[in-house]
Amino acid sequence: MPRVTIRVQAEAFDSAHETALLLRGHEDVGGVAAFTGIVRGGGGLVALELEHYPGMTESMMRRIAESACVRFGLAGCTVIHRVGRLAVGMPIVLVLCASAHRGGAQEATTFMMDWLKTSAPFWKREEFADGRSAWVEARAQDEAAKARWGSLAACDGGKKN
């Protein structure tokens, strides 16, 4: 069984520690691909405020992660998404995918990010130095990125029982 870890938390994460946990006891892993999303500065941005839908978020993250494990034959994966106020330069999201071979782990990381961005119920509000604040709008290109993976029965609008 692939080892799947899902967390939504306000606290920072330690990617090296999470990688060690993911690998523990897995001798068949040849590579771990990782992606860490960071709050990018510019345009006077000071921080993001991340909101989510508790319960649905975790279940969508788990469905995406489990789909990635099956589709890419992963030994395991870890997805941690932060919520609350995150200043510029702070990490927001960590995706780790462990696999026997490099290609699967790297593709799975891209797949997971594409799905997370479009299917996990998080919303970002931007706070600027001049006091303005605005909800971030979804980008059509994120939907297009997800679409190239085809449909995902477990994630694509199916009604949960």
């Binding site: 839908y53 649905m56 999201v93 990010m113 119920p121 919303w123 970002k124 979804a138 609008g157």
Partner: protein, 84 residues
């Protein structure tokens, strides 16, 4: 009772994060609930008259406006997601 949740700018505009509500008379699907909310006027009408701006989840799974609803369902309205 239905449990209705609002997130992100829908919550800001409506001034509430959720409410409980009896299943509106004759409502069978999400679209019927949207019509009932729209009929309230004010900010509700401003939002629910334009369903293309909002996304829906029924019992914590994404759903279309044609999705059936029943008493005790949890129905959430929110903008397209922007995490990651």
């Amino acid at each position: 009772m239905l449990r209705i949740l609002y997130f992100a700018w829908l919550r800001d505009r409506l001034g509430r994060s959720g409410e409980t509500l009896p299943l509106p008379q004759g409502a069978h699907c999400v679209q019927d609930l949207i019509a009932a909310l729209n009929a309230r006027g004010g900010e509700y009408a401003a939002i629910f008259a334009r369903p293309e701006l909002i996304r829906v989840a029924v019992n914590q799974s994404f759903a279309t406006i044609a999705a059936p609803i029943a008493a005790h369902d949890e129905i959430a309205f929110f903008p397209p997601v922007t995490g990651g």
